[in-house]
Symmetry: C2
Subunit: 353 residues, 2 copies
């Protein structure tokens, strides 16, 4: 397999090397993002492509270390889930002051159907020891990061309970086809409801561990580090609604405008999406929210708007999830700029006549 | 004179009726904004055009009420000043939650040369009474506003000291030509250093008053109304720097980029402009700031940037004025959304190779 790309025609490239790229606005009109349009987050250069003989090892605090080839995993009963995945850094540049890190705007989110083997089945076959506290995942990608003297692999751990969730998959296919290299071929962990850093790409090994993992991408990154010195791990996606149509800065004729978008949360289903046209205290109106195609997929919402007149208008939307959490006007600033689910405006211009 | 416009080709129209329109990005490249590109703020429809026989009355608490025609004012010794004027609502839509009011973005600012008679000379001829506390200005434009039962005129007062500032002008010309109707023809007050609401358009009368003015545009609008219940009048422009070049979302070839922009403050000259490329705590670097062509005009600044590589970059700038006031990451939210001089990013994409 050759190095894919360039991605300039299919994405909005944030950084070309390693590739980090957002979804283009028109690709957000689709419920399922085509694989070649899905957002790309890489910490390191893509590792080389491999074939069906690539092994996946499962070891550590288990009674029976196991190893499967990709080919063997493909032989197993597969499970398919439509999952919305958002980068923890989506919206980072909306924070002020601007945090360090890739300058993500508001389109590091995509939805795909992932097909694979539930991780819990593999864990059960290996018989995880009772003293295990977490499961550690290692990707084939590696490079320099943090204070390490040499290259390190991308590694992340998951709490046992989430690792044993039947919806946490070792995925072998994306939208019904082999996973493209840039999205983690041939094996990618999929952790529904969590920000994307949990869905380890290019998965090559799984380890049950008896002490909390403190590697770079668990402890020095993907933590909310607040200005008061407190911190917390980045885990589930916060509620967010986005307007996909009209696109920002659209110029539209007079008449009713159907506003459309998506809403999601890792904390539960979306209970409500509200839309505001213009400013003020009391301008929020409910949108129609549809049941998603899967409990891990975003909800379609629509709102019919009759513009008050020609000129520039500011449109906003906000989601409330089943936990009662609602998108804020400002998300709490944190050093690395994670989880910025603040309400984000769309501007549209209505023509006269 | 016929009703001017439409303004769709020359401006970014915020509202067509009454006309409210921002400056287009390319018009900000010029130090002096052409009159036909200057931002337009109207509270009411434009009043009818008038000729040189239009009177300007000066009365109230004065020993000698006076009246001059436009023609008579044109006969007097004229003074010319280059002045940067910004709408108090510039940046309103950058506040969260979004305040009520016209959805101004970040381009309600312009610079012009205004020529006219210093107001202080007219005040001296009328011999303002010692008990006067302020000078009230009335424009010919009028319409419905606030709780008033009938139409009201646009009216604003100025403290005596500012009214007597030799740089406060009754302007008769803009950029060396008669003032266009949309900018206040034939007479406009120009109050350098203050937000634009002070520079009353279509000026028809001046009155010395012995009690503070509490009309709609002085008391119900153009006040900072904070969430803690405190409030303060909107007066001088807060420091602000803007990037005019490259324009937002520009795609540029590799190589050095000369970043250019303007900086101004009503609190004094600009002491420093700093530029940040990317995020983090310690990324601010000084720009070269030029002496402006007038003490009321914006300062040109430039910064040569060598991009670290291809991809998306976030550029920010911030001004510090001679009072020591520096642009903040967030301006204090207020009910009507005035004075939002928060740092505002520009995104640019550097092509590979």
């Amino acid at each position: 397999m050759t190095h894919p790309g360039p991605f300039e025609d299919s994405h909005r490239v944030i950084r070309p090397d390693p590739v980090n790229a957002e979804v283009r606005p028109e690709a957000l009109w689709l419920e399922q993002t085509p694989a070649e349009r899905f957002y790309i987050r890489s910490n390191f250069p893509f590792p080389p492509g491999t074939g069906e003989d690539q092994p996946l090892r499962l070891g550590g605090a288990v009674r029976q270390a196991r190893e499967w080839t990709v080919g063997a995993l493909l032989e197993r009963v597969q499970r398919s889930l439509v999952v919305t995945t958002e980068c923890a850094s989506n919206g980072r540049t909306g924070f002020a002051p601007t945090p360090e890190g890739e300058p993500w705007r508001w389109s590091a989110v995509s939805t795909a159907e992932w097909t694979g083997v539930p991780l819990v089945e593999l864990l059960e076959e290996a018989d995880v020891d009772p003293e295990a506290v977490a499961i550690l995942f290692t990707g084939r990608d590696r490079g320099a990061a943090g204070d390490a003297s040499g290259p390190i692999h991308f590694q992340r751990s998951l709490p046992l309970e989430k690792a044993r969730d039947p919806d946490t998959l070792v995925a072998l296919a994306m939208n019904g086809a082999p996973i493209p290299l840039e999205h983690g071929a041939p094996l990618r962990l999929i952790v529904p409801g969590w920000y994307g850093m949990a869905s380890v790409k290019w998965l090559e090994s799984i380890e049950a561990i008896t002490q909390p993992f403190r590697g770079h991408f668990q402890h020095a990154r993907y933590r909310y580090e607040y200005t008061d010195g407190s911190s917390a791990p980045v885990t589930v996606m916060r509620p967010r609604a986005i307007i996909t149509d009209p696109v920002n800065n659209a110029r539209l004729p007079a008449g009713t405008v159907r506003i459309r978008g998506w809403a999601w949360s890792g904390q539960g289903p979306i209970d409500a999406v509200e839309v505001a046209v213009g400013g003020g205290d009391d301008v929020w109106q409910p949108a129609r929210v549809e049941v998603p195609s899967s409990r891990h997929a975003w909800h379609r919402w629509t709102f019919d708007w009759i513009p008050s007149g020609p000129g520039l208008h500011i449109l906003r939307c906000r989601a409330t999830d089943a936990s009662g959490d609602r998108q804020p006007d400002h998300a709490r600033w944190n050093r690395h700029g994670y989880g910025n689910n603040a309400i984000h405006p769309t501007y549209v211009e209505i023509s006269a006549g």
